[in-house]
């Protein structure tokens, strides 16, 4: 079995999982669509939030930023993670107590002001678009590699998949697909970290490390470098 077939099987299986979850969690009402009827257990919610943190942008670019920028790029680490503290302290509890679905709704009703609501919507759009651009570039690059298509085609495939499971499943579908992604991501983060540390410290079966097996350059398939198959 060559690399490409393996890619297709693994990606197909994970897509099937996400669509399965979206179908199982399909929303019937507005409350269900936006807030999953408040029926998501806290640990599941935490896993989904963590998957948000470890998304394409951090998986692909954060590691590179830290590796190349070192100390200067720790602002990204502190900013991304520190933002969650702001969210947990200043917004999330009140949003929940107020019983509204979206931040603009909450801001508008809380401050009795359409102007405030408009400001919230503009902030939301700016933040979302910035975020989505980063994520979608990540999606395009990743799919282009795995499916051996051009970056644009990869992006279109990726967004079609996300669109499908977000629209069918609503918040519950998104939360549980993110739980699945969390498990995939945490494994994908941990394995290289463990092996790179073992390799750096030479603590992992000295004879193997000294034999150079782990330092041998990996043969990159030519299809990866020449990129597109179609």
């Amino acid at each position: 079995m060559d690399q490409f077939t393996l890619n297709l099987i693994v990606i197909g299986a994970s897509f099937a999982l996400y669509f399965g979850i979206a179908f199982w969690a399909r929303a019937g009402s507005t409350a269900e669509f936006y807030a999953a009827n408040q029926g998501v257990p806290p640990v599941m919610n935490g896993m989904a939030t963590a998957a948000d943190w470890m998304s394409a942008a951090s998986f692909i670019s954060m590691a590179g930023l830290i590796a190349f920028g070192g100390y200067n790029n720790s602002v990204f680490l502190m900013g991304w993670t520190g933002g969650y503290v702001l969210l947990a302290l200043l917004l999330a509890p009140y949003l929940r107590k107020f019983g509204k679905f979206t931040v603009p709704e909450f801001v508008g009703d809380r401050f009795y002001s359409t102007g405030a609501r408009l400001v919230a919507v503009i902030c939301l759009l700016v933040i979302s678009i910035t975020y989505v651009i980063g994520q979608m570039v990540g999606v395009g690059v990743t799919f282009a590699r795995f499916l051996e298509v051009s970056t644009t085609t990869g992006l279109l495939i990726g967004s079609a998949v996300v669109f499908a499971y977000a629209v069918f499943g609503g918040m519950k579908g998104i939360t549980y697909t993110q739980v699945a992604q969390y498990i995939v991501l945490i494994i994908a983060y941990t394995i290289p970290a463990i092996f790179i540390s073992l390799n750096l410290t030479g603590n992992f079966c000295r004879s193997w490390a000294s034999s150079g097996a782990m330092r041998r350059p990996v043969a990159i398939p030519t299809s990866w470098t020449s990129l597109t198959r179609w």
């Binding site: 100390y71 520190g82 503290v85």
Partner: protein, 85 residues
């Protein structure tokens, strides 16, 4: 919520918790990680100076602890004022 004074006391307790948390939040990330880094460059943690460690690692641990402590303290305050879910 029972009456007006109880609501005021609840909000005051709430704001105090937020203020303390935000002070720690700022001190460990921007304070220790950026502002005080040159002053603390003599102290080493795990092969790097403590400012670097706080910027890359330590502040994130502090953030995690903050969120958990905040949730626990706020649940306590909610219960004390009879507004828990």
């Amino acid at each position: 919520m029972a009456d007006k004074s109880s609501a005021g006391a609840y909000w005051a307790a709430n704001v105090r918790v937020i203020a303390i948390s935000m002070a720690i939040w700022f001190a460990c990330s921007f304070g220790l990680g950026i502002l005080l880094r040159p002053a603390l460059s003599g102290i080493h943690v795990g092969g790097a100076d403590i400012g670097f460690w706080f910027a890359q690692n330590g502040s994130i641990y502090v953030f995690l602890i903050l969120i958990f402590v905040y949730a626990k303290v706020m649940n306590g305050i909610d219960r004390a004022h009879g507004v828990e879910e």
